[in-house]
Every structure is written in structure tokens, then in C-alpha cells.
Symmetry: C2
Subunit: 568 residues, 2 copies
């Protein structure tokens, strides 16, 4: 089985059940995608009766995500494949020190396709940092349905970059060390439902060996399946509690990821609010409230890249969504050892001898099903418009004011966040504050890199959901995965860009906000061999949701004294 997940009941069915005490809940069902005889089956299973309710063969473009077991089997194929063994010997490398990784092949206009993937190899030879030691020039193409090598290429030889300087395991690092870091030792968030719908990572090297490299981490590999176990004290602080997660393996057996999530109070030493009043003669009043927030964290490691995903819930009702990018960037082996030697476009930065960090993007799309004080919401663009004063006697010649615009049908726009000429608010037009403002939550973007590939690029057609930074659609149970259900080798015919063409009504409806964080990555030497975390994110902030500052009456913490003789 390629996918096993809950077949979530339609949202109205859930709400109807919740509104009627003691009514029967909607049936519990699983949705399965299984590959059988080179066909993708979509199966609905009733979990109480264990009966198959429907079994439908999918005939569209693309393939389901690659399971761990399938990738593992594909990576074993080269080890007994003669031409490959000869290539390794020709390079003077030791086969037992070679490890493998699988790469989706994408779609570049081909009319016919098979369920294949590319297998590339790395030379570890004592290091564990395989990604910096790609054996360039060799490509194997494996058919996953038949589980055999169907194409093989050995095009050229460049040196495998040296391992020296790329070690990152503490136990293997040699002195001198940097300083040792010093140690230090609200649940029930009533906020919006939302999740990461896709992570699209296209690389910008059009050459034969690299042109196809682009990843849809959710649709091709499974972002949740890539969750790693978190470690106490380092991934999460001492006050964290941990939750396990379970996923389904290829044969349906549940597998556990222990400590997949951690939840902790964050004392980041920020100030929640403060004011010092010295305008009243002879007196000074100071009030300060330090901020304590609640963080829910997971880390997804998709091969070389590690993504730290934080949901931070603030006492003020603000929700900050943060993504930290770290891990090992994808590099390409070249003959160059110094920039002086480079006379051609190498599609990246020379990071170390024989090592190019290839230019690429990260586009991270969030599905945000905000229900602001009820399901029926509207999306309001509060435009900040310049007003020229026509009265010549006015000393002020111009000012800006807010002109609100409610989106009636689909909303998709390349908003110029950097210039912040509009505020983007989801309001409940049926609920008002004490003085009559519609209750709402505002999206505060932080970065919004726009795709730079042309729209007719096959990669961009498949990733067309990044063409706009913000999209608003009515809730529809089937519209969950922004790049489609069958992303591997997809043709882009089942993406948000296509769904949005229907121009459905979104005013005073149950709406979904899709927001894409973008990041163009020009690697620098500091990113090698492991990249210091680069943070991106956005904020959902209450905007006339409360009648006044909801943390005004939060009392400051008691002072906690640390007694030095109590340390370990």
C-alpha cells in the first residue's frame, strides 16, 4: 500500500453531529492507495466492519507517493548491477563504501510514463555526510512496479569532493572546538485548523544530471512520514512533553515514531507588553509582562534537508508559524577548486573544493482552514490607499486610509507583501465586537518569494500553486493536497491553480486560506557542510477578535531565584 490515511468525514457532517448531542457520529473510514498490477487503486475501508466499501482504479496522470520500502528495494538494485559495479571500479572506489538515494524524475512533457525513479550514489568511505560526496556522472533508472534497473548512464568522471571539513558528528570532530553551549533549564489552543500541504523544492541547474531535480516533499515522499524522533534537552527544552506518532507501513502494519512531537512553554525572554509612564508630574509608573508562549514542534527530515516546524501559541491569541531550514544542502561535484577557474555558469556557489551548492527554492504551502468564531467567514483585503487632499487651504496634502474590499469569489493574488499596502483579514461577518467591528484574524506574512521560473516550465506547471502567495477557496473535502493526490510525475492538472478556476463563492462561506512561504536559496559557504538554521514564517494575529487587549490582566510571574548550590 502506498498510502493509508483517515477518510475524514465531510466537515458539515462533523459539525452536524457535534451540534446534536447523543447523535450517531459519522462512520470511521480509511482511505487507501494501493499499487497492484501497475495500477493505482483508491480504496475506501469501513474501519468498524473491516469491509471494503469501494475500489476504484485511478486513470489520471501521476503516481502515489513512494513508500520507504519501495525506495529501500530500489536502492538495493545497483549493488548487483554489473555495469554499475564496473563504473565504481573504474573510479577506483570501494563498492562497500557506496550508499544510495532515490530521486523522483518529475515530468517534462512526456506523453507516456512508467513508475520509475532515479537512483544516485554517494561515497561515504568513513564519513556519514553522504550528501557532500555524490559520485557524479552515474544515473540508474529503476522501474518500481517491476523493481528492476531499466536504464543506466555513466557519462563523465569528476573528483568525489573530499570528506575533510565536512564531518558534523560531535564524536568525530577534532579539537579545537568552539565553546560549549551553556545549558539552562495554555494548552488547548482555540485556534485555526491548518497543516502543511506541500513543500516544493526546485533546483536551478538545467544540465543533464540535474535538470529534473525538484521535490514535492509531501506528495512524493510524505512530509509527515519524514518526521524524526526528537531528543530531550537539545531538540526541545527540559520542560517539554513528548507525543509519539504512528504511520502505516507498506503492508499495513502500524509503525511508531517515538517523541515525534514536543510541546513546551517557551520563555524566550521577550516582552509581551510594557509601558513606562512619566508624564504625570513627580511620578513614574512601570508595568511589564514578560512573554510565555506554548510551542508545538516537530522536525521532518527529507533526506538531506531538515525542517523544524513550530506552531507557537501566544497568550495574546496570536499564532506564529515558523519553519527553520537546516541540515545538509544538495551539492554537485565539479573539478573546480577555486572561483578563479570558473568561466561558465555553474548554477551555484563554490562552497569548498570540488563542491557547488546549487541554487534552489523552497516553497512551503499552508492549508489554513480558519473558522473565526464559526464556520461562515469572509476574506477582506484592507487596502491602504493614498488620499490626496484637494482643499488648498489644508496644510496636509495627503494621507492614507483603509478601503476594505470583501472577496466574493475566488481570491488569488501575488500580493506585494514587502510593500504592505494591504492587510489580509479573515472575518466573521455575522459576529461583531462590543463596538461593532467584525471579529477577525489577520495573516501577517514575513517573506514571500515569487517563483522565478517561467509559467510554461513543466516544473512550474506542476508547482503552479505557488503562482500566487495567497489563495482563498471554499472548503471542499477533496481539496487538501495542493499539488494533487498523485504528485509523482504529475502533469499539474490537479493543483490548486486548477481548482481555483471554478470561481466559486467565498463570501460568508466556510473558507480555506492557502498561504505560500517562499525562499530563494543562494547557498553561501556558511551553509556547508551543515547549514545554520534559517528561519521563515508568518503570523495569524487577532484583529478586532477581542474587545480589548486579552492579556491586559495577565499578572507578572513570581520571581524565581536560582540557588547556585542546587545545580547538578
Amino acid at each position: 500500500m502506498e498510502y493509508v490515511g483517515l477518510d475524514e468525514p465531510n466537515k458539515p457532517a462533523i459539525l452536524s453531529w457535534l451540534s446534536k448531542p447523543k447523535s450517531k457520529p459519522p462512520p470511521r473510514r480509511a482511505f487507501v492507495i494501493a499499487r497492484l498490477d501497475k495500477q493505482s487503486h483508491e480504496i475506501i475501508v469501513d474501519l468498524s466492519t473491516h469491509a471494503i466499501l469501494s475500489d476504484k482504479v485511478y486513470n489520471g496522470h501521476g503516481y502515489p507517493l513512494l513508500t520507504y520500502e519501495e525506495q529501500l528495494a530500489a536502492m538495493e538494485l545497483p549493488q548487483t548491477y554489473k555495469p554499475f559495479i564496473e563504473s565504481i571500479e573504474k573510479r577506483g572506489l570501494n563498492l562497500s563504501e557506496v550508499v544510495y538515494s532515490t530521486f523522483t524524475i518529475g515530468w517534462f512533457g512526456e506523453l507516456k510514463s512508467k513508475r520509475v525513479l532515479k537512483v544516485l550514489c554517494f561515497y561515504v568511505d568513513g564519513t556519514v555526510n553522504l550528501y557532500v560526496r555524490l559520485v557524479e556522472g552515474i544515473t540508474l533508472v529503476a522501474d518500481i512496479d517491476e523493481m528492476k534497473i531499466v536504464e543506466y548512464y555513466d557519462r563523465f568522471i569528476v573528483p568525489v569532493p573530499k570528506a575533510e571539513g565536512t564531518v558534523y558528528r560531535e564524536s568525530k570532530l577534532e579539537p579545537p572546538f568552539g565553546p560549549r553551549l551553556n545549558g539552562a533549564t495554555l494548552v488547548n489552543p482555540d485556534g485555526p485548523g491548518g497543516f502543511i500541504s506541500e513543500m516544493f523544492v526546485p533546483y536551478m541547474d538545467p544540465s543533464e544530471e540535474w535538470y529534473y531535480k525538484s521535490y514535492f516533499d509531501s506528495g512524493e515522499y510524505g512530509f509527515g512520514l519524514s518526521t524524526v524522533s526528537l531528543k530531550d534537552f537539545v531538540d526541545c527544552p527540559a520542560n517539554a512533553v513528548f507525543l509519539d506518532a504512528y504511520f502505516s507501513t507498506n503492508d499495513g502494519t502500524p509503525a511508531k515514531i517515538s517523541n515525534a512531537f514536543c510541546i513546551f512553554e517557551k520563555h524566550a525572554r521577550n516582552i509581551m507588553w510594557c509601558h513606562t509612564e512619566s508624564s504625570i508630574p513627580g511620578k513614574v509608573f512601570t508595568e511589564v509582562r514578560p512573554e510565555v508562549s506554548l510551542v508545538v514542534r516537530m522536525v521532518a527530515t527529507v533526506d538531506n534537508y531538515d525542517y523544524i516546524i513550530d506552531w507557537e501559541f501566544k497568550p495574546s491569541g496570536s499564532i506564529k508559524l515558523g519553519i527553520g531550514l537546516t541540515g545538509i544542502i544538495e551539492v554537485k561535484g565539479v573539478a573546480y577548486t577555486h572561483t578563479d577557474q570558473i568561466k561558465e555558469n555553474v548554477y551555484g556557489t563554490l562552497l569548498a573544493e570540488n563542491t557547488i551548492g546549487v541554487y534552489h527554492d523552497h516553497f512551503l504551502t499552508y492549508y489554513l482552514d480558519l473558522d473565526v468564531d464559526g464556520e461562515d467567514n469572509s476574506f477582506v483585503k484592507k487596502n491602504l490607499e493614498t488620499i490626496k487632499v484637494t482643499n488648498p487651504s489644508s496644510p496636509r496634502k495627503s494621507y492614507w486610509t483603509v478601503v476594505s474590499e470583501t472577496a466574493k469569489t475566488k481570491f488569488d493574488t501575488r500580493t506585494q507583501f514587502g510593500l504592505k499596502k494591504a492587510e489580509l483579514v479573515v472575518v466573521n461577518p455575522n459576529k461583531n465586537t462590543n463596538v461593532g467591528n467584525n471579529v477577525g484574524y489577520r495573516l501577517i506574512p514575513r517573506s514571500a518569494a515569487h517563483p522565478l521560473m517561467s509559467y510554461n516550465n513543466y516544473l512550474q506547471i506542476r508547482g503552479a500553486f505557488t503562482n500566487n502567495h495567497v489563495w482563498v477557496t471554499p472548503y471542499n473535502k477533496s481539496e487538501k493536497w495542493v499539488g494533487g493526490l498523485y504528485v509523482d510525475q504529475s502533469h499539474g492538472d490537479d493543483t490548486l491553480a486548477i481548482w481555483s478556476l471554478r470561481n466559486r463563492k467565498i463570501e460568508n462561506k466556510d473558507i480555506v486560506l492557502w498561504y505560500t512561504i517562499g525562499f530563494h536559496h543562494v547557498p553561501s559557504q556558511e551553509d556547508f557542510p551543515v547549514m545554520p538554521t534559517f528561519g521563515v514564517g508568518f503570523e495569524l494575529r487577532p484583529t478586532n477578535f477581542f474587545d480589548s487587549n486579552p492579556v491586559l490582566k495577565t499578572r507578572p510571574p513570581y520571581i524565581v531565584h536560582w540557588r547556585p548550590n542546587c545545580t547538578n
Copy 2:
């Protein structure tokens, strides 16, 4: 005296002294601006001989910043001014419960000017939250040179907004309370020199009582002079150390601000870098380094607004500059108690009964004198450009690449940061990394709101340094305060926008980067009566400055166990 500060030696003189051991340091001098007989004197004093070296009368536009003593004296004038006393009685208010605040009047094209300011009054009547209780309609104009009321207006009466719900002092708040917050218990940064050159805050209400409201917090009031004392455990964590600051009062006596700065290690529970490696069959390797950074903090309170200013130095060499906006927003009294009653443009949001939060901006300009591994630097714009592939047999139709452009003369641009089509890097063209990249530091903007007032607006002429987000100029000792030296009632003839017209060379020179953070503030009810902190900021990140990740060899912290019986 209106201003006493160091007359800093010219930077080349300092560098020359530092490069010659045992040479004589440049002379220590003070720069004084003193107002005498309605003239502004610029005086240079030799601090070792106590001699006046020069005394020059300034004949240009504008006035020096307002001292605390001058403002205090102006606020005493209404208390014995008959027409004002009558206005207060007419409203049925008690004079002893009235407090005062001073407002700069700006410049709106007048040909002649006097050194005057406006005095407005607030009705405290038991509360200390004066800003939410402006006595609308009354304006006094005080001549500061003659220290007397020269104009008086009482135009209309609207209710003073009620104090109920605006109390923010913990000792005065009534139950029910929110939850009590839980308590919790690398100096020598080798980074760029920089400071906040100006904070420009224009309001967007063109009416008679409000059109002039706009503040240049540095040039008119003194941002540093507005520093407040920080409190242990709440403004800064338990591990903070504090530094005092001194400033000069009107008569030259030094005055101390105790605990003006705090410095602390920030354990924000973020991850500095991590990677989990599971591609090597049968093994899983995990390495994680939590982040510990060093924060230098101050809080400047300019009347109602409080600005939390953080310089965060990360072990990776990254420097994060953060500003938290909190305190009390400037509100306007109106007759309205519900949005249904509002049929006109009120230039703001109804926050509570009789209370409008007026639309306004915050533009915060940083002076960043980066010396990247030496004084002579260049400013490089790394443009991310789309390349179309013309070879029809290529599966890839387009990709982006980096085309670097070195600014040769002045650089000023309205960069569209949100779209991130360029990276902005200060490099040292004379110093390379091991593989030949120019060493550099990169400016990573986070938000960049552009001014929305038209360019011929008098306010915008004076704040023209916000017309671009980034400016680069050669270092010039006299170009320090971006709005000019005499900002009160300035005509905009001494701003960065004017200095920049000279088109001076900036390639391989000692350059200064000016960066403006912008924030358009549409108040919401949550901002009332005290605003939860809104954070803005930017990052200076090493970019090929180090040969590789400088924190790779940082060892993880020892685990610190908290023994419950050791708490207080």
C-alpha cells in the same frame, strides 16, 4: 543647552591612531547645541582644556531637539492661563486632574517660523492611562524661546472617553485575572557598528486638530534620552547584567539612567542546526545543537509608545536587530460609541466607546557602518534573474541564476523585498575566502512598508529618507542623523535624500548602509488600552564571510537537571 554629545573624531583619524602603536589619540571634544537669544549656537568644546574651540550660529531651517526641562516648563504654562482654565471648567472637569503633553508642530510650507510647540491636555481623574483620555478640541501653542502661550484654541467638545477598561497597572486591576505567567529562571561581538538614526511616525488624520501630528523621535525628542530603566526578571531575564547610561541635562549636569541596558544569554529554545541521517542502511545518526545567543536590550519610551530594541548576536555570526512596538497607541476622542453610527471617514478604528485609534506609520531608519574585514567595502546586488533555455531539446525551459551588480555610486532603491528577487550584500572586494569568494555580510529584510503619502506632502519632504528602503553612501562624519541635525520644524533640506544627490563613489570605499524598517499601523481593538508587542526587524547574516559553518564544532550543552526541591 539643547544637545551635548561627543564630537566624534573622523573615522580615518581613529583608524590611523589605532594602526600606530603609542601614537597620540585624536583630541577629545564635545559638540554642543545651545539656544541663546533665539539663536541656535553650535559649539565645539575641548574636553581636556575646557576651552571653547568654535562657536557658530546656525542660520538654516529647523530647531534643535526639545529638552525635558523645556517641555516641563511648557506644560506648566496652561495651569495659570485663564482661557484654558475656563475651557476646563466649561467641560465640568477638575483642573487638578489634568495633565499635559507637548507636541512638535512640524512644517507645512510656512515661510517664517518661531520655536513653538503645541500643548495638549489629558484628563487622568484617578487613572494613569492619560493617552486614552485626551481632552479633544483644546490646543495651546507655546513659544519655547519666550516660554509663554502665544496662541489658544477651544474649538469643540466631545466626551472624554471613559477610563473603565483602560487600566493597565497590575495593582489597580480587578479580578478575574488571567493566569499568572510561570516564572523561569559571547560578549565582545565582532560585528558592524550601527545605531538607530531616526524614528519617523506620521499620523493619517488631516483634520485641524490632528494634521500636524507626526514625530521624529530621535531628532525632536531624542531616542536615547527616552531610555527607561529596565527591571530585573521582567524586562530582562534573571541571567542579565545591567549597564547604566548618562546624559546631559539642560544645564550640563550629567544625569544617570540606571539599568539602561541589559545584556543576557538568550536560550530561546531554538535549534542552531541539526541533521538526522538515516540513509546509511541500518544506522541512524542525529546531531542537534540548540541555539544560545547574546542579546543587548534597551527600551525607549517616547511619551505613549514604548520601543523594545534588541541586538541579538548569534554564535553563527548572524546579527538580528529587533524592534518590539508596545505601549499605548495615540487615540482621538469622538462622540461615537458604535461603528453603526459612523458615516464619515474617521481616519482610524473605533477601539472602544468614544475612542478612535488613528492610522499611522512607524519608519525606523538604521545607520549601519559595516566594515566587513576592513573599511573598504562594496555594495553588491545579487539579482536573481530568470534564464530561458533556448535549446528545444532541453527538458528544462527556464531556471534562475545570480547576476551580481556592484554599485559604483550612490545606491538608493525601493527594493521589493517581499518578492526577494535580489540579495543585498556588503562585500570586501579585497579579501577572499579559501575558495575565492569575496567575504561579505548580507542584509535580510523582514518588512519594508513604503511611505504612502505623496512626495510633495510636507511631512514626506521632511521624512524623505524613507522614500527608499536601502541607501548606500560613503562614510561622512557629518551624515549621521538621517532627518538632519535640526529636525524640529525642518524643511527637509538636510536629509539623506539630499545628501544622496551628490552621486559620490561607493565602490571599494568605507560605506554606510541605511536601512528603513516600515510598519503601517491600522489599530485593532487588541491594541487597546495597551498594545501587545508587535515585532519587526531584520538580519545581518555572514555570506561567504567564513570558509564554512562557523558553529559546526560547537559542542552541545551539558544536560542541566532541575531538582524540584531546589525551587524557592
